[in-house]
Symmetry: C2
Subunit: 244 residues, 2 copies
Amino acid sequence: MIRLFVTADLAQDHALALDLGQSRYLTAVMRREVGDEVLVFNGRDGEWRGALEVVAKRGVVLRLTALERPQAFGPDLDLVVALVKRTRIETIIEKAAELGARRVRLVITERTNAERVRLDRLTAIATEAAEQTGRMDVPEIVEPLKLAKLIETWDAPRRLLFCDEAGEAKPVLEALAGTPAAPWAILIGPEGGFSPTERESLRNLIYATPASLGPRILRADTAAISALTLWQAAQGDWRGLEVS
Amino acid sequence: MIRLFVTADLAQDHALALDLGQSRYLTAVMRREVGDEVLVFNGRDGEWRGALEVVAKRGVVLRLTALERPQAFGPDLDLVVALVKRTRIETIIEKAAELGARRVRLVITERTNAERVRLDRLTAIATEAAEQTGRMDVPEIVEPLKLAKLIETWDAPRRLLFCDEAGEAKPVLEALAGTPAAPWAILIGPEGGFSPTERESLRNLIYATPASLGPRILRADTAAISALTLWQAAQGDWRGLEVS
């Protein structure tokens, strides 16, 4: 079933006019017709089932017929990631959405070769991934900030899993054992790694837990996906699924 | 330091003629000159340091000066992955190399939209990723086989982590707890999932351990990376790193 993220309020029997892009996608691309059903969510009101009521040139109108799932969020997890080249950042955004990060914060480090990023494009990627992965919110993409500034403005109760590619830290699962629950953030450095000064200051943060991602050198996108996976498995919503 | 995979034997003081592609990469792209050093490995003789001795139009000759690391392999882990579209298969191959899979076996399932694959291109991707990630072998890419045939010809002592997106299995870390060590394989289905018949026959294999990858729907490349990560963390070489 097609899932669409919308911004309008959702409630029983509401008529919902889709924007032109979504309308064209439903009709021209996916060949949906009056009476066909789709799912919609807005990050606030849960996931709703709706039926196509009007299919016109100016757009599609849905009639909401049933609340499928009440609004829920994954654990409060940020991914803080150094700007890397465009294709890898786009992969990271897509995977962060699939792996349940609530926010992605872009960060500029000493060794970042900062390319310009288009937040609107990254948000579109996050939205599409959220639609496909089945979550009921879209991860927020936060514009790039220098690492020093990020640390200065840190909200202190949030813990930081600092993925330290220099490799003298404990493996992630060992490092996370016995640590408090969310809120957390995962920090992934640029492909050239953090500078010695940056590593020193990160390791001195009382809310930081350094951790290693194995014996091989990982690209930034691999490191982000692996760290998100291990955090979800150890601390997040990959634990305690109902087993039939 | 640049690392190159070569096929020739490696030993102290050997002269090693690089092929034209690698020679051009070293000189035209990376601007290396006589006396500069690189690392080479061939999957048998360990990782060697070599210095550029001849830089000529017909190619570069290295003189091997020291064994940097004796030959070692990661754990005996296969990734068995259904053919998915080209860009995602290429991502999977790159990540399998970074995450230490020893082989990638391509498999055709009922819901596979099999595109043709070029094994030479996939092997080139695996080779480049192996060079960059620091491993001393290149994962073997095994040509596509039907799932039924794969099961028929299974080498029985190898266990199979069956990533069952239908979601009634235990989470991977729980599923792997207490299971025997390598050899293992990880099985990732196509984006449309396994058919009910396939799921049934996979769940009946005595060497198979079904496992779930969390509450969201993952694309095939994400599922492969997450499963490789969790296996390495629970059973592989991401455990027991030396902690300084």
